[in-house]
Amino acid sequence: MAHPYGPYQGTAASSNTAWDSWNSSTASSTTNGNTWSTWVTEDITFRSDEASEAPQGTWHTWVAHYETSSSSTDGNAWTHWVRVDGGDYQPAQRENAYTLKLGNAKDIPVMIGARHEQLALALMGHLPEKVVGNMHHYNREEVTEDLKAFRDVWNERQRIRREKKAAEAKARAEELLVSLLDEEQEEEWKLSRTVTVKVSDVKSVRIKEGWAGNCEELDENGHVIARHCIHPSTSVPNADNMISQLLMLETDPDEFFRISNRSVVR
């Protein structure tokens, strides 16, 4: 379970397992044994007080600090993560401890320390630019390198996700297209990725795989005499475009020719 709050943006809470409202410039305290006892902020990152092992396993005091963060041992809070100077972060060990939560990026296996996370959030457009402006005292070169690594991971994952979705959509659309073809059309599709529709005794339209200008008007001898440009008003896979063209040609060809832009082939 992801932790229910972001590290710098306040989430009002009154239950004994959650936060009171807080943000990077204010401190708020709780008195409940299951929540934080005292927060002190003096910057945009935090670490715990060295003597933070409260009797009930929660934090006493957090102090904003550049380098380190540590966690309590309470099951509902942080477990342990410390940034060693110049080294890597150790992420929380418990599954219900801190999880990086950037929209739908919660599954990214990148744990970023407080200051980096703040920058990562800014990078992803989640925080205003002025927050970035407060980071002047950090080692910008180091932070930039870390963020580049984070951004590379993020971009690569997004690219893979986009490609996977597109491939799934393409396969799904093609499956539906084939289900609408007669035997002859299906054979043609397998051979040439085109589908031909006979619209009159002397005219056929060959639909090629594509989006725009992909419909060829053929005469009775199979010669291309014109191209038609017509497609759905919303973005769909190419095979869905072909389905729309096919259905229109087979059920309402006059409307197809009325809407399409026709270019004569000489």
């Binding site: 959509a169 073809l181 497609h231 389905i243 259905l247």
Partner: protein
């Protein structure tokens, strides 16, 4: 009774809505979706289970078998 199906063409390929014509709630849901899409300019094509196209339909038919909802077409 065989299930009926509405395939809505979209960026995922298509989204399918399936209903049992004897199930009032399922029919209502399918009909509401059909009407909403028609309002958005979608064209509804009735298709038999063997792939034969019946043509454009303007009203929801719970016994249609298969309906393809295609976005409005525009000239390119």
């Amino acid at each position: 009774m065989a299930m009926n199906e509405m395939a809505i063409l979209d960026k995922t390929g298509d989204t399918k809505i399936i209903w049992d014509p004897d199930n009032e709630a399922e029919v209502e849901n399918a009909e509401r979706t059909f009407k909403d899409l028609k309002k958005d300019g979608f064209v509804a094509y009735s298709v038999k289970r063997n792939g034969k196209k019946d043509g454009i339909i303007h009203d929801f038919d719970p016994d249609a078998g298969k309906i393809i909802m295609a976005p409005r077409m525009v000239g390119g």
